[in-house]
C-alpha cells in the first residue's frame, strides 16, 4: 500500500465520527424538520399524515390575522430587531470609541462591560424582573428618589417590549464593544496622521475615516445582532409572567411560539413550519450580508 493511500485511509478514519455526527445530528434533522412541517404532527398520535403545505397556509393565515399570537410574534420579533439592533450598535460604538480614547483603566472597563455577556440569560432575565418590579423594584425606587411616578414596565402593554429590548441590549453590549474595539484597532494609524496633516477635524475623521473603514465590522455586527434578535426566546420566556410573552402577547416572539405550539400544544407540524419560515428569513439576511461585505475597502 502506498504511503499516500495509507494517509487517505487515516484521514477517512479520523473523519468517520465527525462526519457521522454532522450527518445524523445536523443534516438529517434539517431534512426531518422540513418533513415534519409537511405533516399534521402530533407526537402522541399514532399516525402523522402528510398534509401538503397546510401548516404553511395556516402560518400565513395567522400572520394575516391582526389579533393572532403568531402575527404578534412576527410583529414583535421585527420590532426587537428594528429597535434593538440600532441602539445596540450605536451604544457599543460610542463606548468602544471612548474606550479607545483612554489610556488608563481600559482593561477594567472592558471587563465590566463584558460581565453581563458571560452571565446566563436566565439569571439576567430574573434579575431584571426584580429591577422592574412595580412596587419596590430598583428602578421604581430610583424614579421615586427623583419624585417621578412609578412605572409598571414589564406589566404594561406599551412598556413591555421596550423593557425586554433593554435587557437584551444591556446583556449583549459587551460583545459588540469588544468586536468594535478590534475593528478600531485594525485601522492603520497612518490614515489618522494623514487626515490630521490635512487639517481634518475630529468629526471629519470620524465620518470619513473611522466609519467607512469600520464598515465591515458594522455590517458583521448588525447581521449578528439581527439574527440574535430573530432567535430571541430565553429572555422573553423568563421575563414575562407566565412565560407566555405577555401581557397580551405584547412581547412574544417567533421562537416562543415554536416552543408553545410544538412542546405545549403538541402541534409540531405547525411549529416546524414556523422554524422553516424563520430559517429562510435568517438565510436571506445572511446572503444580504455577504453581498454587503463584498464591497471591501482598499487600505
Amino acid at each position: 500500500m502506498s504511503l499516500n493511500t495509507r494517509r487517505v485511509i487515516w484521514a477517512y478514519a479520523f473523519l468517520l465520527i465527525p462526519l457521522a455526527f454532522f450527518l445524523f445530528i445536523r443534516f438529517a434533522p434539517t431534512l426531518f424538520s422540513f418533513d415534519v412541517s409537511l405533516r399534521a404532527f402530533n407526537p402522541l398520535a399514532e399516525v402523522k399524515p402528510y398534509v401538503g403545505l397546510e401548516n404553511f397556509a395556516k402560518v400565513f393565515k395567522d400572520i394575516g390575522d391582526p389579533t393572532h399570537p403568531t402575527r404578534k410574534a412576527f410583529e414583535n420579533t421585527f420590532k426587537y430587531v428594528l429597535i434593538g439592533t440600532p441602539i445596540q450598535l450605536v451604544l457599543a460604538l460610542g463606548i468602544a470609541l471612548l474606550l479607545n480614547s483612554i489610556t488608563r483603566f481600559r482593561t477594567i472597563f472592558r471587563v465590566i462591560y463584558f460581565i453581563p455577556f458571560v452571565t446566563s440569560a436566565v439569571a439576567v432575565a430574573w434579575v431584571w424582573r426584580a429591577l422592574y418590579m412595580p412596587d419596590f423594584g430598583f428602578l421604581n425606587l430610583v424614579l421615586g428618589l427623583f419624585g417621578l411616578p412609578s412605572q409598571r414596565f414589564l406589566l404594561d402593554i406599551n412598556q413591555s417590549l421596550p423593557s425586554v429590548t433593554a435587557v437584551v441590549v444591556w446583556q449583549g453590549l459587551g460583545f459588540a464593544i469588544i468586536i468594535f474595539l478590534a475593528g478600531l484597532q485594525a485601522i492603520p494609524e497612518t490614515f489618522y496622521e494623514a487626515a490630521r496633516v490635512d487639517g481634518a477635524s475630529r468629526w471629519d475623521i470620524f465620518r470619513h475615516i473611522t466609519v467607512p473603514l469600520l464598515n465591515p465590522t458594522i455590517v458583521y455586527l448588525a447581521v449578528l445582532q439581527t439574527i440574535a434578535f430573530l432567535r430571541m426566546f430565553t429572555e422573553v420566556i423568563n421575563l414575562t409572567r407566565q412565560g407566555d410573552g405577555g401581557p397580551l402577547n405584547s412581547t412574544t416572539t417567533v421562537v416562543l411560539r415554536v416552543y408553545r405550539e410544538g412542546f405545549g400544544s403538541q402541534n409540531m407540524g405547525y411549529a416546524a413550519a414556523l422554524t422553516v419560515v424563520l430559517f429562510f428569513v435568517i438565510m436571506l439576511i445572511t446572503l444580504v450580508q455577504m453581498k454587503f461585505l463584498q464591497r471591501r475597502f482598499e487600505y
Binding site: 487517505v8 487515516w10 484521514a11 479520523f14 473523519l15 465520527i17 465527525p18 455526527f21 454532522f22 445530528i25 445536523r26 438529517a28 434533522p29 434539517t30 424538520s33 407526537p43 463606548i95 471612548l98 474606550l99 479607545n100 480614547s101 489610556t103 472597563f109 472592558r110 471587563v111 463584558f114 460581565i115 452571565t119 446566563s120 440569560a121 436566565v122 439569571a123 430574573w126 434579575v127 426584580a130 429591577l131 412596587d135 419596590f136 425606587l141 421615586g144 444591556w170 453590549l173 460583545f175 468586536i179 478590534a182 494609524e189 490630521r196 473611522t210 449578528l224 430565553t234 423568563n238 412565560g243 421562537v255 415554536v258 416552543y259 410544538g262 412542546f263 424563520l278 435568517i282 438565510m283
Partner: protein, 288 residues
Amino acid sequence: MATIATDLAHNAPAPARPRPKMANVMAYILLSIGAIGMLVPFFWMIATSMKTASEILKPQFFPANPTLENYQTVLTRTLFPTWYVNSLLAAAASTISVAFFDSLAGYVFAKFNFPLKRVFFLLILASLMVPTEMLVIPWFIMATGAKLQDTLLGIVFPGLITATGVFMMRQSFYGVPDELLDAARIDGMNEFGIFTRIAWPLVKPAVAAISIFNFLGNWNAFLWPLIVTSKRITMTLPVGLSFFSGEAGSDWHLIMTGATLSTVPLLIVFLFMQKQIIQGVALTGMKS
C-alpha cells in the same frame, strides 16, 4: 498601538491646550456611568439575596441586617446542588468531546489530502446556516425515540462537535509546520500518535479558546435543556433556576439567591480568565 484620541491630543498645535484633557475627563465620566449601569443589576441581585422576606416589601435598597439564611434555604431545600452537578457534567462532557473531535477534524482538513475533502468541509460549514431553533423539534423526536429524555447524553448530544470549532482548529493547524509531522512519520510514529503527541500540543491556545467558549455556551444553554428535561432531578442550572423562580412567586429574596448562586461562580472564573476570553472573542467574533 497609540489610540485615536490621544493621537488627536498630540495633534493639537499647542500641547498645553486644555480641550483634549477635558475630552479625556468626559470619556472617563461617561465610561464610569456606563460601568455603573453594567454592575448595578448585580449589586441589586446580591443585596436582595441578603434581605429577609419582609424587607423585599419595603422601599429600601440595602438589607438592614444582611443575612445568609436565604442561601441556606435555597441550597438545602431545593435541587440547586443537583442542578449544579448536572450543569457541570453536561458542560464538561461536551467540552471534552469538542476539544478532541473539533481538533481532530480540523487537523485532517488542514493537513491531509483526500478525495471529497472540499465537499466535506463545505458541508460542515453549511450546517451553520441552520439555526438550532429549527433542529430542536427533530432532535426532540429523535431523543424520545432513543429514550434519551432526561439523560446526560440527551442534554449534550447536539453539541458534541461544532462546526465553528472545526473551522477554528483548521486555521490553527495550518500554522503547524509539515516538516515536523513528516519527521515523526520517518521515525515510524503512527498518524494518531502524530496528532495527539506532536500536532495537538502545538495548538493548545486554540484548543483552550474553543474549550472555554464551549463550556460557557453549554453552562448557559437554555432552549434545548429545557426541552429535553422534564424531571426536576435531571435539569441543568438555567432550567432549574427558571422553574424555581417561576414557582417562587414573589419571594424575590429567594429568586435573587438562586440567581446569585448560578452566576457568581462563573463570574469568578471569568475574572480569572478574562484576558483569554476577551481576546478570544475579539479574534473569532464568536457568539453562542
